[in-house]
């Protein structure tokens, strides 16, 4: 065998029986049609009228019954639904995949409004762990505090908490915007991949630890940065976007947004490298 020291990485990989894995984007061979009709909602989405409203008293209902009742009302064309007496039930209002206005009078438990794609939700109370987990689109506004892993793995939409949130906020987030009026706990933005977070208050230890990409804006103090989280310049575009976003939810601080700290990935953990398996093999 020819000395491996004289080979290129690719030749070494081939000698060792390792194939380099192409990581270029996959194509579905789908093309846009510029003449497509102007549709604004999914073809399967129920046609709802925001002026048509209904209430659900959840006191004597279990989670499954509440969620099925929400879908039933949407199929009947109800566009504004109010949930009464949620009493901290878990997994309420999950999996709503189209436009509807939902108002919750009271506090919700774990995994509230997870997996949603389009609704506008207002919660007049608190929420437990993992509110808005895997959210795709829509708006969720919580008037009080939220628990840990707020917006875990969120992919899109605006998830807003006017109070403070626990630790690991936005863990593994892949898009969307998380806005918090108060403070956030330790390991906020842990392994976030993209998306944006805004904290008007303070951030706990290890902010943005192992973040791959995305942006975190903090208005208060930062206890410490996590591995590979670095401060970046706050641009004029960032400022105008921050101002617009916070104003939209009535959360713009009196002193504006100029004092915010912008945190991004330092990219020192980036490892998109298709010769990686062969390199590992050589080391072992």
């Amino acid at each position: 065998m020819e000395s491996m020291n004289n080979m290129t990485q690719e030749e070494r990989a081939e000698q060792l029986g390792m194939m380099s894995e192409p990581l270029t984007g996959r194509s579905m061979q789908e093309f846009f049609e510029p003449s497509e009709d102007d549709n604004f909602v999914y073809p399967w989405a129920p046609v709802v009228d925001p002026a048509k409203s209904a209430e659900i008293d959840t006191d004597e209902m279990n989670t499954r019954e509440v969620n099925e009742r929400i879908r039933q009302l949407m199929d009947e064309g109800v566009g504004s639904i109010k949930l009464l007496n949620p009493r901290g039930k878990h997994s309420l209002a999950v999996g709503i995949l189209s436009r509807v206005n939902l108002e919750v009078e009271g506090s919700m438990g774990y995994f509230a409004v997870g997996l949603i794609d389009g609704p506008n939700v207002r919660i007049n109370g608190r929420v437990g762990w993992s509110c808005g987990e895997n959210m795709m689109a829509g708006t969720v506004v919580i008037e009080k505090n939220a628990g840990s892993t707020f917006g875990a793995a969120i992919r899109g939409g605006d998830l807003v908490c006017k109070g403070s949130v626990g630790s690991r906020t936005g863990i593994d987030m892949k898009g969307g915007t998380i806005i918090v009026g108060g403070d956030t706990g330790a390991l906020t933005g842990f392994m976030m991949q993209r998306g944006r977070m805004i904290f008007c208050g303070n951030a706990g230890k290890n902010l943005g630890d192992s973040m791959y990409d995305g942006t975190i804006f903090v208005g208060g103090d930062i206890k410490s940065f996590g591995v590979d989280a670095v401060e970046a310049e706050l641009t004029d575009l960032d400022k105008s976007w921050l101002k617009r976003k916070l104003e939209g939810y009535g959360m713009l601080p009196d002193k504006g947004v100029d004092h915010f700290t912008k945190v991004v990935a330092g990219k020192q953990l980036w490892n998109y490298d298709n010769l990686e398996p062969s390199e590992k093999k050589l080391i072992l």
């Binding site: 290129t8 990485q9 380099s20 990581l23 270029t24 984007g25 996959r26 194509s27 579905m28 789908e30 093309f31 846009f32 049609e33 510029p34 497509e36 102007d38 549709n39 604004f40 909602v41 999914y42 073809p43 399967w44 925001p50 436009r99 506008n120 795709m136 689109a137 829509g138 708006t139 992919r155 899109g156 939409g157 605006d158 898009g175 969307g176 993209r194 944006r196 990409d213 995305g214 942006t215 575009l237 960032d238 105008s240 976007w241 617009r244 976003k245 939209g248 991004v264 330092g266 990219k267 020192q268 953990l269 980036w270 490892n271 998109y272 490298d273 298709n274 990686e276 590992k280 080391i283």
Partner: protein, 136 residues
């Protein structure tokens, strides 16, 4: 290896991935691929460039901003402009007949428009998938 330092290159030109393969750093040339995204995922939208179609969409959805569309950008696949559709986990190509603006912000707005029209149309693959597999 985990923990290796970033060996990619900066995106300097809006047409970088149309004119060429976008490989600049020695590491990218060695492995034959661009390291990282082919567009700036952290670019926030410039709302002065909002199109009438998108403004109408926001009005219907009851949103004061682009919401999930803030994460939609025009990307580039195999030298062609394309938009990533998360609902099919793939790139959707922009036809040649569409003239691309000279800046990423306007391109992103076009990408958002095209993606909305595609996702909301009957020819979207998710329509057939739902018909075949939906449970509720």
């Amino acid at each position: 290896m985990a923990g290796t330092s970033y060996k990619g290159s900066e995106i300097k030109d809006v047409d970088q991935f149309i004119k060429g393969d976008g490989l600049e750093s020695s590491r990218e040339k060695e492995i034959g691929q661009h390291i990282g995204y082919r567009y700036d995922v952290n670019l926030v939208p410039d709302y002065d460039r909002l199109t009438p179609f998108l403004a109408k969409y926001l009005e219907i959805m009851g949103w004061h901003d682009l919401n999930w569309l803030e994460d939609v950008h025009m990307g580039y696949e195999d030298g062609n402009p394309a938009v990533f559709d998360r609902n099919i986990n793939g790139w959707v190509r922009v036809p040649d007949s569409i003239k691309l603006p000279d800046n990423q912000q306007d391109r992103d707005m076009i990408a958002r428009e095209l993606l909305i029209k595609f996702q909301m149309s009957d020819r979207h693959p998710l329509v057939q998938l739902r018909q075949a597999y939906t449970k509720f």
